[in-house]
């Protein structure tokens, strides 16, 4: 139901064509599309009803992310409606409630500024938030801030002396913040952000000083699960395109999909996609029922989604032959987004190690 509705809308409003047009226009964000999506209530999928959300849970968020992955819909859904919303919800209180209301209504977008080097490693955060008077001074550099080029607010992870990691919620235009667009291969938004003596007050801190992980961890896990769902949708989209091509395209006088070697590879890919779907569904379910014990389920989903999406796009390009390599054809968009999704919020190796640790290996 939810999936069917979402698919109907996205096929019309956000097909791959829309991403291509955005790219060709030199843009990385489509406020009109996001407005329509917020009007349907998707931005509030994880936000309580009393904050104007639909409170449908992570399984439902996964369904929406999956469908958006299928058409490569370019939206800040993960950054704002999943990661930021989950963090704010965990923080609780009136301020968080009004922030969530703004997200659900589509009035504000958020981006998570966490990476500082080429790999996801929150614990290695070097950016500092030194105590200064009653407040803090933030200095450091972030990169690969997804949706950070246009977001209204930034959730920023920084180190506060010996107290540890602290999470700040700042307006993106605060003095001392400089954003530089990154020209991403997936044509989506990302920014490099420099913080130079940025002033913050105690009110800008989310949760406790030195206690960033309390709210950040659930936010990251919600984001990882939704990203995994997006990538499983991406894999399904690339796969459908490939199977369609195998049926239509003739070579040596027959449809290439009648060649057994391609049949077996396509069938194997379908199996991988099905198995990954189970991990995605499980992650959504566990986040909804037992969120404090979700790390295994989430990392399993992200690891599987990463390897499956990569297989799907590699087989997709190879089975399409030359046409799959052309910019004119959509397969390349899938391949490039799969690569970015693989890296964002922890790559295969990161999540596989999480699984290994939790399984005592």
């Amino acid at each position: 139901m939810l999936a069917d509705n979402a698919r109907g809308f996205l096929d019309e409003a956000a097909p791959v064509r829309a991403l291509r047009d955005l790219r060709d226009a030199g843009r990385t964000h489509d406020p009109a599309l996001w407005r329509r999506i917020c009007d349907m209530g998707w931005a509030g999928v994880l936000i309580p009803e009393d904050a104007g959300g639909a409170d449908m849970g992570h399984a439902a968020a996964g369904v929406l992310a999956h469908e958006m992955g299928r058409t490569l819909a370019c939206t800040p859904f993960l950054s704002s409606a999943v990661i930021a919303a989950t963090i704010l919800r965990r923080i609780g209180g009136e301020r968080a409630k009004s922030a969530m209301a703004a997200i659900a209504a589509g009035e504000l977008t958020h981006a998570l500024a966490i990476d500082e080097a080429h790999k996801f490693a929150p614990e290695a955060t070097a950016m500092t938030a030194e105590r200064h008077g009653n407040g803090f001074r933030l200095s450091g550099k972030k990169c690969f801030v997804v949706d950070g080029g246009f977001a209204d607010r930034l959730l920023v992870l920084a180190r506060t002396g010996e107290e540890g990691l602290t999470l700040f919620d700042l307006p993106a235009d605060r003095a001392g913040i400089t954003r530089t667009a990154q020209g991403m291969i997936d044509s989506r938004d990302a920014a490099r952000i420099a913080f130079e003596n940025v002033e913050a007050t105690g009110d800008d801190v989310l949760g406790q000083v030195g206690g960033a992980m309390t709210a950040l961890k659930p936010g990251l896990e919600a984001g990882q699960a939704a990203l995994a769902a997006e990538m499983s949708g991406l894999a399904a989209g690339a796969f459908d395109m490939t199977v369609g091509y195998l049926k239509d395209r003739k070579q040596f006088g027959q449809p290439i999909g009648s060649f057994q070697a391609l049949q077996h590879r396509a069938a194997h890919l379908w199996c991988e996609i099905e198995v990954t779907a189970s991990a995605i569904l499980n992650a959504g379910r566990v986040l909804d029922t037992d969120p404090n014990e979700a790390t295994l389920a989430v990392s399993l989903a992200k690891a599987r989604a990463t390897s499956t999406a990569q297989l799907a796009v590699m087989e997709g390009v190879q089975m399409h032959g030359g046409i799959g390599m052309t910019d004119e054809y959509d397969m390349g968009f899938y391949m490039k987004r799969a690569r970015v999704g693989s890296e964002w919020l922890g790559d295969y190796g990161y999540h596989a190690e999480q699984v290994a640790a939790l399984r005592g290996m």
């Binding site: 027959q254 449809p255 999909g257 057994q260 069938a267 379908w270 099905e274 189970s278 596989a352 699984v355």
Partner: protein
């Protein structure tokens, strides 16, 4: 919520029942073929505990928990069965009984059998009194199961059966065999086959074990020489046996696939790695990386088996997609046993070495992706029937 209450109550009950009825000796977690009771006329119990565990479970219907009570089952729902299995695993209990009667003939008979047949055959299976084997494959037919040459000539009140079956698992230990027999030689390949039930003690039935590369002989060749099979020993209609066979193959695939996965199996690899390396972080990084990949895939495959079972319970036919479970489960199991062998190193290179007989288990897994339809056949089924790709 009421459902939850009911299930929680069921869990308490079953836990208490297990506590009282499952003998301590049967709680050693040994779930390999040689540790479990297979029943049958000639079964020799390995211990009194094994015998009483079978008798108590059968009396409570728990050898076949999902079957209706009138046929010897406990009439459990899928959710209840899941709880039962969880509670069994919690105390490391061996299954009380395992057999092809439970996993294959039973489901087929529940679907295609007459009321008389169900009343007659199913309780014998549930109590472990009759041990069944299957007669599908024939020499030279390989993956082409419908290529049945063993023929049953219609003699009025009986069929006169002549021919040979191969890969009949444990036929030398079975009491009866269910077999595909060609009863109409004029009809198209899939239309002239019947699904017959044959007593292994009938005159003209002989069987001979095949020695495998593992040294074990779980399979046999079985010969039929003018065997008379009465007309009521048929499941489904005459010449429509392929319908039964197809239904059954689906069940068989699910059974073989789940051998390869699940959390306990995953734990096995991690435990072996840890045991052999002396500590959790194994000393061979390349091997450890392969084991981690395998673990990721095993967990996801286990979840997939659960998901498909739930779909089947919800009445959503999984049909040909069971070929996926068979393919992924068996290929994964082969990978896992390769890794276990690598982790054990030379300790696993003896038939009976310091780590037991892991080599035999490893070699046994190589048959998983062959028996019950090869991986290649599964992939072709998926390509044609699920993806709708055209024939050559």
């Amino acid at each position: 919520m009421q459902d939850d209450d009911r299930l929680n109550r069921f869990r308490s009950e079953i836990r208490a029942w297990l506590e009282e009825n499952c003998p301590a000796e049967m709680r050693d977690g040994r779930i390999t073929d040689d540790a479990i009771c297979w029943g049958g006329k000639n079964w020799e119990f390995s211990s009194d505990a094994q015998r009483s565990w079978l008798e108590r479970a059968a009396a409570r219907g728990l050898t076949v928990p999902r079957w209706p009570a009138e046929y010897g089952g406990a009439g459990l729902s899928r959710a209840e069965e899941k709880i039962f299995l969880e509670e069994m695993e919690r105390i490391n209990a061996r299954p009380p009984l395992k057999s092809f009667g439970i996993s294959m003939l039973g489901p087929a008979m529940l679907q295609f059998g007459t009321p008389e047949q169900k009343r007659h055959y199913l309780p014998q299976i549930a109590r472990g009194e009759i041990r069944w084997c299957q007669g599908y494959s024939e020499p030279g037919a390989g993956s082409d199961l419908a290529s049945v040459q063993t023929r049953g000539e219609d003699m009025g009140d009986h069929w006169l059966v002549n021919g040979q079956k191969i890969w009949t698992s444990y036929a030398d230990k079975a009491d009866w065999i269910f077999a595909l027999i060609r009863t109409d030689r004029e009809a198209p390949k899939h239309k002239g086959i019947s699904f017959l039930l044959i007593d292994m003690d009938d005159p003209g039935v002989t069987t001979r074990p095949i020695r495998l590369i593992s040294g074990a002989s779980p399979f046999c060749e079985t010969f039929f020489d003018n065997v008379k099979v009465p007309k009521d020993r048929i499941v489904g209609e005459a010449n429509r046996g392929w319908d039964v066979a197809k239904y059954l193959l689906t069940h068989e695939r699910e059974m073989i696939s789940s051998g390869g996965t699940g959390l306990s199996g995953g734990r096995a690899l991690g435990a072996v790695m840890a045991q052999m390396a002396g500590e959790p972080s194994a000393q061979d990084p390349v091997l450890r990386a392969a084991a981690i990949r395998c673990e990721v895939d095993a967990l996801a495959t286990g979840l997939t088996i659960e998901r498909y079972k739930d779909m089947a319970e919800a009445g959503k036919g999984v049909g040909n997609a069971s070929a996926m479970l068979k393919y992924m489960g068996t290929e994964l199991n082969k990978r896992r046993h390769e890794l276990i062998m690598s982790a054990c190193g030379s300790a696993a290179l003896e038939w009976d070495g310091p780590v037991g007989n892991r080599a035999a288990d490893w070699l046994r897994t190589k048959a998983n992706s062959i028996e019950g339809g090869t991986s290649e056949v599964m992939l072709t089924i998926l390509a044609r029937r699920v993806l709708g790709l055209p024939g050559a």
